[in-house]
């Protein structure tokens, strides 16, 4: 450690001798997004070393998965990224379907897109609002939750739950949408679209917000790839990768015929499909501001996708079909599938042995890889930057610890 610090030009020494302090940020801390514990080694306000400690929310979900049938494990995936449980359901369902070579009906496919993209909006709203909270502004958080509540209302209508839905399941969805749902969803989108301007005014383009986030926690393209980052964190560093476009066939087939651009800065510009505020001159690609901005763009794009999905879903005739039986046997063999969840690429792995219960069930969490960069990003920053950086990674401890 000492050798790294000596060479680091960011570490400066003052004439006044001060002593280093070890501080525990978390697990009970307002800004560590759950029970994350960061051990900071600080010299005054300057952080010389950060070490994340995890495991406080470990619930043996993967082991439990080896004792339940594939469909019975769906509620456990809800509790991984509990802010985007729909996308977790989808990931596991698709992995199982991949092993079983099962294909859902056309209508169910569009409904899955609809629900997954709404889930992405809901998750990014939390990420955005909580990021404002990390930077010390409270109001955007509540604005974000106001909108999220409306999405949750829609979800509740569809499946009866507001947090852990288990709606998307192996072989389709547990139920079709109730009558009038699509109109209410469109009404929400119409109401939500103009509100995004307010978020840009309060956060994205706010001078203090830019000062706090621009050029902070800069993660280079190579570093992001090396650490296995994914999702908005990866795209914030300028890597053009989105599994909805670049993923495996069974996943990209879901988005067949959907038009969207990957929210990433290419040739110095973001997609121009909508009005976005300009990039501030201070911001460097890969910094906290860009990670945040990518999420804001994705919210708008997801709204587009939801609109497209509504059209296609209502154009489809027939029903969404029935999900598989709870005790459906899984063929022998294994399957691994990564999907593009709001937080990043969430992978599910299962090994079947011919019975209904998977022999192995595993999850690859995006937040885990995204969190692992904290130690590198936070070296030499100020204490106030630690929440700014960790917040911009938008991690969920339920997914990391499982």
């Amino acid at each position: 450690m000492a050798s790294i610090l000596d060479d680091d030009p960011r570490i400066i020494e003052f004439d006044v001798r001060t002593d280093e302090m070890l501080v525990n940020m978390g697990p009970q801390h307002p800004s560590t997004h759950g029970v994350l514990r960061l051990v900071l080694r600080t010299d005054g306000e300057i952080v010389s070393e950060v070490e994340p400690h995890i495991g406080y929310l470990h619930r043996c979900a993967e082991k439990i998965g080896e004792n339940l049938t594939a469909r019975q494990w769906i509620p456990y995936t809800d509790r991984m990224d509990y802010l985007a449980a729909m996308n977790m359901n989808l990931g596991w369902s698709l992995a199982v379907e991949k092993l079983m070579k099962y294909e859902v009906s056309e209508k169910a496919r569009h409904l899955r897109v609809l629900i997954a993209e709404l889930g992405r909006i809901a998750s990014h709203l939390v990420g955005m609002g909580a990021y404002g909270l990390d930077l010390g502004t409270f109001s955007p958080f509540l604005y974000a939750f106001r909108e999220r509540e409306k999405i949750l209302d829609l979800f509740e209508e569809a499946c009866g739950a507001r947090l852990t839905y288990s709606y998307i399941t192996v072989g389709g969805l547990t139920a079709d949408l109730p009558p009038g749902w699509l109109q209410r969803c469109e009404a929400f989108l119409d109401q939500f679209e103009p509100v995004i301007k307010e978020y840009h005014a309060l956060l994205t383009t706010n001078a203090i917000f830019v000062k706090r986030t621009a050029n902070i926690g800069v993660m280079s393209r190579e570093m992001a790839i090396d650490y296995g980052c994914s999702g908005p964190v990866l795209r914030g560093s300028g890597v053009d990768q989105d599994l909805r476009r670049d993923g495996e066939a069974i996943y990209t087939a879901m988005y067949d015929g959907y038009a969207f651009e990957v929210a990433v800065m290419k040739n110095g510009r973001y997609p121009r499909d909508h009005e976005y505020p300009p990039v501030p001159p201070d911001a460097v690609i890969g910094d906290c501001w860009h990670r945040f901005f990518v999420r804001m763009i994705e919210v708008v794009q997801s709204m587009d996708l939801v609109r497209q999905a509504i059209d296609r879903y209502s154009a489809c005739k027939g029903t969404i079909g029935e999900p598989l039986k709870l005790t459906e046997k899984i063929p022998a063999g294994d399957a691994y599938l990564e999907t593009e969840c709001p937080k990043g690429q969430m992978g599910f792995y299962l090994v079947g042995d011919g019975t209904a219960i998977p022999w192995r069930a595993r999850a690859r969490s995006s937040s885990f890889s995204n969190l692992s960069v904290t130690a590198d990003l936070c070296r030499g920053c100020l204490i106030a930057d630690v929440p700014a950086i960790v917040g911009s990674l938008d991690i969920v401890m339920g997914e990391i610890d499982r």
Partner: protein, 406 residues
């Protein structure tokens, strides 16, 4: 008031003095304590409205107006916790140090013509000085809590408040220079008349420096976006992390007291003090200087004016708090040292030159000519000094209103 008690009521002199002094003390106490309750309620309602919520609605019937009182009772009943490693004495005393500093400054603050706890010749200086003492309570709290977060918070506060005293002092000096006195009563008197007599509109430099003052004032009372000492997303709760119950509420009251104080000071120094935008009383032919009932009512109107302006200032601070993110400590220091201080210095020089070359303002006749005689020592034997010489020694600490002026 003392004369009134002696002449009309027939109290003995000492009792009249005591009664008048205690009345003043009780009034000031209530302004702070009651003000804090009202402001806490207002903050909750305003924050709620800004955030599309309702805020407290039930306590006390409508609008939850008794919410702060209920909170107070809850705080009283809370268990008083102290960390094991804490320095007991300092931990217990720190909130009171903070609160006393905030309270003390009110003694020199005029609420209206003659409504002042103690008319100090150096009132502005005194208020700024005493306000700076609040930081001691915070430092002690941070040290005595034996918590690293508290220590961080208190060190931040110390650095911040001490730094912001510099530009704050420069901003405060400008009205002092224009009025030629550090006496807040005199400063407010000089801004009597229409609103263009306010020092805010005196010249472009004072207009700019008012905003510098607002920035520095917000910073020196630790409100968002400068609330680094209690930055909840970084330092848990900063210097009061380990406090609970009544002790914690003392910090809270000190904060609201200071907020009100700097707002009232802004009102007195820049916004005409108790003089409304339109000189209603003067137009109606009344004068606040007379000792009769009419004069008293005019003063009451002035007090409403000042309280209104100060409250407006506090509300603006709340509005800012619920809108902006928090700055980082180095940005806070940069704001102070690289922006506020140079701007304040330049504006100070500008206001000085303006006062030198354009004392009457740009439009002739609009402004009352600046007085040639600045202080009592030039007024001669019949002036203010002789009249107040006859009073007893008690007015040193709490001079009741009527005593100060002839």
């Amino acid at each position: 008031m003392v004369e009134y008690l002696i002449d009309r009521v027939g109290l003995p002199g000492w009792l009249a003095w005591t009664a008048a002094a205690s009345l003043a003390a009780v009034l000031i106490l209530n302004v702070i304590a009651g003000g804090a309750l009202v402001f806490i309620w207002a903050e909750r309602k305003i924050a709620a409205r800004i955030q599309d919520r309702l805020g407290p609605t039930r306590t006390g019937g409508k609008f939850g107006w008794l919410q702060s009182l209920a909170d107070g009772i809850k705080l009283l009943a809370k268990e008083d916790l102290m960390p094991d490693g804490a320095d007991g004495m300092l931990f217990r005393l720190a909130p009171y140090v903070s609160f006393c500093a905030s309270f003390c400054a009110f003694i020199a603050l005029p609420f209206a013509f003659d409504f002042v706890g103690l008319r100090l010749n150096v009132a502005v200086f005194f208020v700024v000085a005493v306000l700076g003492l609040e930081v001691f309570g915070v430092i002690l709290a941070g040290y005595a809590s034996a918590s690293k977060w508290s220590l961080f918070g208190s060190m931040r506060e110390a650095a911040q408040v001490v730094s912001y005293e510099v530009p704050l002092g420069m901003c405060v000096v400008v009205p002092v220079m224009l009025a030629g006195s550090m006496d807040m009563v005199t400063i407010a008197e000089k801004q009597a008349g229409w609103f263009w007599n306010w020092y805010l509109f005196h010249d472009p430099f004072t207009f700019v420096i008012f905003w510098v003052y607002v920035t520095c004032a917000v910073a020196s009372v630790n409100r968002a976006p400068f609330d680094l000492a209690e930055a909840e997303s970084e330092l848990v709760a900063g210097f009061h992390t380990e406090y609970s119950g009544l002790r914690w509420s003392f910090f809270f009251m000190a904060e609201y007291g200071s907020m009100f104080l700097v707002s009232a000071m802004a009102a007195v120094l820049f916004l005409g003090g108790w003089n409304g935008p339109v000189p209603l009383a003067t137009l109606a032919g009344l004068s606040e200087g007379t000792g009769d009932t009419a004069g008293y009512l005019v003063r009451l109107l002035g007090m409403v004016n000042l309280l209104g302006k100060a409250t407006l200032g506090v509300l603006v601070m709340m509005w800012i708090r619920w809108t902006l993110p928090r700055l980082r400590i180095d940005q806070v220091m940069t704001t102070c040292l690289k922006y506020c201080t140079p701007i304040a210095a330049v504006m100070f020089a500008g206001a000085m030159l303006w006062q030198l070359f354009l004392p009457g303002g740009l439009v002739p006749g609009m402004r009352r000519p600046a007085g040639e005689i600045r202080e009592g020592w030039l007024e001669g034997p019949g002036g203010r000094g002789a009249a107040s010489a006859a009073t007893g020694s008690g007015d040193l600490v709490l001079a009741p209103a009527a005593q100060v002026r002839p």
